[in-house]
Subunit: 150 residues, 2 copies
DNA sequence: TATTGTTATACTCTATAACTATA
DNA sequence: TATAGTTATAGAGTATAACAATA
């Protein structure tokens, strides 16, 4: 069988290597789960963050999701053109845009989250709830360490 | 504090979201750890696989690491031009190239692995050995599920 | 027919630098 | 002077299709 632990030699004991592969597996299945919807990982992320904090501007969304301002532009354009987000000049700070999710955006987000739940169930089949929670907690601790040096 | 769990709304309970962020944190620190060496994640991967299986061809390396044949070409070119790999026509199958790591390649791989160990120690600071092993095992189970559908 | 390696191509993601308009 | 958004650009990763040589 190809892809077995042994064939990767020195990589096998590395957490980073397995993180990479597990992320790749998730990404591939995520893309398949979203097929036909036009949604991608980042777009769902942006939609979820704006839904959580209506009126937020793109810079702030980028800071939450670790996306550079320059790269936020086309993402927001995509979502606004698809009528999933509205973008209006913030009266309190006329440099910024206040973002909000449209009704259609809320529908698409709900549909995306339903697909994602099925996708997660698929990827974590065989995991007990305890194991799932443990994995989540260990991953969160890695993210926090990243913040230390940033 | 930016990037807090709460600000991501519906994403927070998702393993995929945290996998993505943890992978991003690892990748950033990996790149920093390799600064000045010219090595990248994929290149170390290829070097490690060839070191483990001398005489292997590029297609097989790609299958092990989930890299498409078309994308292997420039990677192998890079490593051969840097004199870290040799590429010779396989006498048993003249379509294929038998790959092998050069002495210099072995040195670079050893140096890379030393840097990676320090990087992993940094990213997993505060993890007990039990926690590290648990994380590794949970990630491996996700990879295996990915193989099921492939 | 199938497989190895190759070329060409394209899309996404990520990163930096320089610009504008507002604060 | 700092910040919000923008433009332009470039590198890396990933994907597909089509081809030549060999099996």
């Amino acid at each position: 069988m190809v892809g077995d632990q042994d064939s990767v030699g020195a990589l096998d004991p590395l957490v980073g290597y397995h993180l990479r592969r597990a992320f790749g597996a998730f990404s591939g299945d995520f893309t398949a789960a979203m097929e036909g919807t036009g949604m991608r990982q980042v777009l769902v992320g942006v939609l979820a963050v704006v839904a959580r904090s209506p009126g937020i501007n793109q810079g702030a969304v980028g800071r939450v999701l670790d996306i550079k301002r320059a790269n936020m532009v086309s993402l927001i354009n995509e979502l606004v053109e698809a009528k999933l987000l509205t973008r209006e000049t913030d009266p309190q700070d006329r440099r910024a845009f206040a973002l909000a999710v449209t009704d259609r955006g809320r529908e698409v987000l709900a549909d995306s989250l339903a697909r994602i739940e099925a996708h997660e169930a698929r990827m974590l089949a065989g995991f007990t709830e305890t194991e799932r929670a443990a994995l989540l907690e260990l991953l969160r601790r890695i993210e926090r360490r990243a913040g230390d040096s940033a």
